[in-house]
């Protein structure tokens, strides 16, 4: 029972850690190319996130299943081949069923092959862990990445076009255009944010905001460490004083 709960909390950790604390894009800074390249609209970003999650989950599970069969010398080429297979599957599926998404993402679907996160999870996690853990880790990373690029896209689409459009890429949904910065003939959008330069600005500002929190956390940790050292020193000094007093007392007794 106890081991069961430990295992369960470990599973939960594997899934939740990459979403928030070790987000592949915002904290580890991996997979930056598609994060800047396809985030002009929210729908493209969501589509990219879903395709990315599919490739990551598929390749992680397969790598984890084959981890005892693949010889160590040809590990990396074998991983790349597995990933490329899943990317080809995703490419063909999206071309057949979501042609708008396929043309919107363009060459970035093929570039999933060289995405550092996918190869990184295979090398760092899936080849050492069981199937269930690898699946959860891949899902967590996929969802974390999806949320990260969607938030960049949200900022860029609202600021860049003044509206959010649904149904242009996922054509099975009804087409909805939400006007957010555009109303009654007033247009508050800044087209720069839809351009490449805007992507760098949004990403830079997000990183700076995250920097505030990591700095605060680091300061807190440093303060806690200092306090712990001080407390240890105090305890040591007290113990020394007690020892001294004891020996002095003993000496005094002997004198008597």
């Amino acid at each position: 029972m106890a081991t069961n709960t430990i295992a369960r909390s470990q599973h939960k950790e594997n899934f939740l850690n990459p979403i928030w604390k070790a987000n592949p894009l915002f904290i580890l800074l991996l997979g930056t190319c598609p994060a800047l390249g396809v985030t002009t609209t929210v729908e493209n970003a969501i589509g990219m996130g879903i395709l990315f999650t599919f490739v990551l989950v598929g390749s992680s599970v397969l790598v984890s299943l084959l981890r005892k069969i693949i010889p160590e010398e040809i590990e990396t080429p074998a991983f790349i081949l597995i990933i490329a297979t899943f990317v080809t599957i995703v490419k063909m599926l999206s071309e057949a069923f979501l042609p708008e998404l396929y043309s919107g993402l363009g060459v970035f679907i093929s570039l999933l092959v060289v995405n550092c996160i996918v190869l990184g999870r295979a090398e760092a996690f899936a080849k050492k862990n069981g199937v269930l853990d690898s699946l959860l880790d891949a899902l967590g990373n996929g969802v974390g990445y999806l949320l990260a690029i969607t938030s960049i896209a949200l900022i860029r689409e609202i600021l860049g076009t003044g509206t959010i459009t649904f149904g242009a890429v996922f054509t099975f949904l009804p087409k909805i255009v939400l006007p957010i910065l555009k109303f009654d003939g007033v247009d508050l959008s800044i087209p720069l944010f839809a351009k490449p330069a805007g992507a760098f600005i949004v990403f830079g500002v997000i990183e700076a905001i995250i920097g505030v929190f990591t700095l605060r956390k680091a300061e807190k940790e440093a303060a806690a460490k200092r306090e712990a050292i001080l407390a240890a020193q105090k305890a040591k000094a007290a113990a020394l004083a007690a020892e001294k007093a004891k020996t002095a007392e003993a000496a005094g007794k002997e004198d008597k």
Binding site: L29, C33, A84, V107, L111, V113, A197, I201, G204
Partner: protein
Amino acid sequence: MSATNVVTAFILAVFSYMLINNVVLTRFYGICPYLGVSTKVKSSVGMGVAVVFVICLAALVCYPIYHFVLIPAGLGFLDTIVYILVIASLVQLVGLFIKKYSPSLYKSLGIYLPLITTNCAVLGVVQENNALDFGMSMANALGTSLGFLVMIVLFSTIRERLNAYDAPKNWKGLPIALITAAIMAMAIMGLTGMIA
């Protein structure tokens, strides 16, 4: 088209791919090395030269593979898998070749070679070339890789100075570098439409 026309078209295409459709700042390939290897001028020059070398070679090798092997065999959909294997083995081969014939060059370029396999610029250019003819795909390879070299060297010179600049603590390092990249991208935007 006469010979001079072809040459002018080629040169214009190279400049267009190099500056106007710059690889990192407008097409977003190869952001990882652009942000990761640009802290020192020396290493950015090494990375840039290695990328020029590998992209040109990969484009030269992959063009005949796609047009004379995959397409006649009806296997066009296998392009990504074939390209990544070709690029990975090409990088390995170039590494061995340089190690044997020029150990000093290997010392300065060698460490960047394995990183290039996972540089999206290489695969991106080769994939784009599927739709281009031979001359244009060579122009794309040459222009794109030179554009990468120019931008990463410029960026690293700026970053070396930024280190000495007293930025707010949470902006230090990557955030301020990203804003710098944004300003560089705006400068590149000013060239839009210069070459039709």
